[in-house]
Symmetry: C3
């Protein structure tokens, strides 16, 4: 009784489509991760994603739709990866849900197979990533910790593109503790691009511990202001590709009675070279966190991560990939991480 | 490698279908909610739903199937919205899972775009809604609260329809704390209908707090009996539509040493007028909760909610909709709520 | 706007398929469970499963794919049931995720409709089932319990099949507390088979209780070694089918200061007879747990479970099924359990 979804790319069929449709695609991975600092250095990883795309068009030609990405990692829970709803037309595109922050005009892709994260260090300050560092904590009581942890995820994005130029604005709307917005612009010339983005975050948290609904008197007041400017550039030149990102941020924190101002920056560059089915990549990233406080009371160390990777296209949607990277945080020793596996597209 | 699901309504294909099949449809929303009483009055909301429908037919012509509604709201968790399994034939239809309670013979639809909830106030007592008010709480200890919160959700429904008349019976079977059943009948004449339903709920809760498996001696005994009669009527008369619901309930509670008897009622009416692509609606609802206790120790105030809304069909499955409502609970001030957004069907 | 997934088995279409595709099938159940030992002896059960299968082929003919089983039981949460990713070719099949443990070369199927679990008792020691008995607990403090509960689920399996013979090896890789692997072989002759498997588990747990990040000094050290040998045999002989499994294990536990060595074994046999649309089954299983400790401080009693069942094929993917079983654990009284319902395949 197995149902077969016609996996066709035959556009001839599309003439007969109803205005609204549901379509599916997928991705999966299986392979090995290596972490020189872990007790068990080698671990296996597998994941499968079902991409649901729903799309339609109004009588006046306005396009609308939604995407749901359903993911399972290592046979764990079935989770929403990203879900977005949008309307687009001559006026541009308005999206809600898992929208990109507008100061992200093109970061750098990761290297290797799964999770070497050279891109994450470079993008430490842009988009919604800064919330990892604005979670200044206060040890509470009654088995609870009070902290300033919030999410800077934006939930609305408006993008307008005209020829080679696009502009976007995004924001987090409706949150009682966070005001956050971003603007960005990007210009494509030939196979190259440059982009500039600005983000502003204001956090104001007032939290307390209650036991069975009764306040204990233990409270935490915290606030933070952050501004981040991010520039990106890159392009494809024959078999070579290059992408770079640089972010500069200034952050003021007043949380749990402690205040501080921090000038932080992060950058990364990634180069690739493609020969037939083989692609070689290298990346280098740094983040200078200027001694920012972190959840738990410590100090966020500066981060450095660099590595090389390779990918080989097996055809039919499958690709072998792997990489090795070195990573260093603060004064800790450098560690080696690596990965190798297969990635499948359906 | 994107797979395209043939979104066809061409019944010509159906002749070749295997007996059992899986099909998909979807819905999505994006827009704004306004709550005059909230700290941030305006918030955004987005959601996407994938409807999975599985159906088949036995050799003797018995139809069977299941539906799973998978929903993501505001890019949050991937959840089951409603999942139902059924068998139907000349004997009627037997359903399990997310079944309707049989005393719900047609409530009133909501107005506006997303969540003005004029229907919820009118349906305060019918179906499984009364469980919101049967959660009388007792402050416990060891960071835990003991209360009578239970669910009145039925898990079995049997419906038999003959011409214009249908009867249904539903129940919650197998729950150790709740006995609940309902019966209902509905008669359609032309484009109009009347319906009558009766529900009976018996709750008997005995709960205690344990610490690491050891009883603390803190216990809670609670019981409640409730009977609710619900009448509905409505119809479509040319461009006009009207729907009304009235429920009358009597409730006895003996929980945590406190007893009480309550006579409650709720009603609502909703009218609509359609001109081409535009539909205008208005609704008024009240619920008199007779000072019932609520979780946390307070008293359930009487509720009143009314508003107007409009919807405009954009074609292709998309619709613009919005509304404004006034809501009042107990002695609190009236508040204004509103919404505006787009709804998409795929 | 309902989308219809073409539920075709017409292989004529497959010639036009792209190399990678996403396909769907499903299953659902609704019916009654009976448990003579429960307060409410009769309960209803419903479930619906969407099977997502993604598959592709590389240019050199290597097959790859992933499966995600999405399940909802009794209108509860939407869960991952099993998710597996694989690559297969002339070298064999490599799988990650929800893989079979290699010492499972064919257990015995359950009887009845849903959950009489005569198979579970017989398979008490094989695969990952032994983890239920290696969860020796220690009462902690601060509302927390420390125990040795771990999962023996393997996450990698490699299987090689040549004609009638297949061999497999599987392991749990990357877990800091568990080392576990298994090997197995199976030989098919005609419609019969024999199989032999071996599993080795090493558990080493060191856990402690912290309050708001501060260690309390309450710790738990536990370790266990287990070896299990499992033999299976069975076959289909005309209208008759038979399957048997026998496992023998030796377990050493040193947990929370208490040590013990246990010789355990379990076996089960299941026979079936098919007449047209009707299948009759009977099964008998026993597990001798040699007084092993269990979570909570008690002793695992020996288990015995046997019963009969019947299934009737309604055609079109639907089947009526039911069964009755007797179950006995340790010195407790024997209890009667039963089930009856419909199973649907889509």
């Amino acid at each position: 009784m197995k149902k077969i979804l016609l996996a066709t790319t035959a556009l001839a069929f599309s003439a007969g489509f109803a205005a609204a449709e549901v379509s599916f695609s997928g991705q999966a991975k299986m392979g090995l991760n290596y972490d020189g600092a872990a007790e068990k250095e080698t671990s296996v990883h597998s994941e499968a994603v079902l991409y649901v795309a729903m799309s339609g068009e109004t009588d006046t030609g306005l396009a609308f739709g939604a995407t749901i990405d359903m993911i399972v990692e290592d046979n764990g829970d079935l989770n929403n990866d990203d879900t977005t709803v949008f309307v687009s037309g001559a006026f541009g595109k308005l999206s809600m849900g898992a929208v990109p922050e507008a100061d992200e005009n093109g970061g750098i892709a990761d290297i290797g197979w799964d999770d070497l994260d050279t891109d994450d260090v470079a993008e430490n300050l842009s988009g919604d990533e800064l919330d990892d560092y604005l979670s200044y904590s206060f040890i509470g009581g009654f088995n609870e910790t009070l902290s300033m942890n919030v999410s800077l995820d934006h939930n609305v994005n408006y993008t307008y593109a005209a020829d080679a130029f696009s502009v976007a604005v995004s924001a987090k709307i409706g949150d009682e503790e966070v005001d956050s917005y971003a603007v960005g612009g990007r210009y494509n010339f030939g196979d190259a691009y440059v982009g500039l983005g600005y983000a502003k975050h204001e956090i104001d948290v007032s939290r307390s511990i209650s036991v069975v609904g009764t306040p204990t008197g233990i409270t935490f007041e915290g606030s933070a202001d952050a501004e981040v400017v991010t520039a990106v550039a890159g392009g494809t030149f024959g078999a070579f590709g290059i992408a770079a990102i640089y972010s500069d941020g200034s952050i003021d924190i007043d949380a749990g009675g402690t205040t501080g101002s921090y000038d932080v920056d992060a950058f990364g560059v990634r180069g690739s070279y493609t020969m037939d089915a083989l692609t070689l990549v290298a990346a280098y990233s740094e983040a200078d966190m200027d001694g920012m406080p972190t959840l738990g009371g410590g100090t966020a160390g500066d981060q450095k991560r660099y590595g090389i990777g390779a990918a080989y296209d097996l055809g039919g949607g499958a690709q072998l990939a792997g990489g090795v990277a070195r990573t260093k945080t603060g004064d800790a020793d450098s560690e080696t991480i690596g990965d190798f596996g297969i990635t499948m597209s359906f």
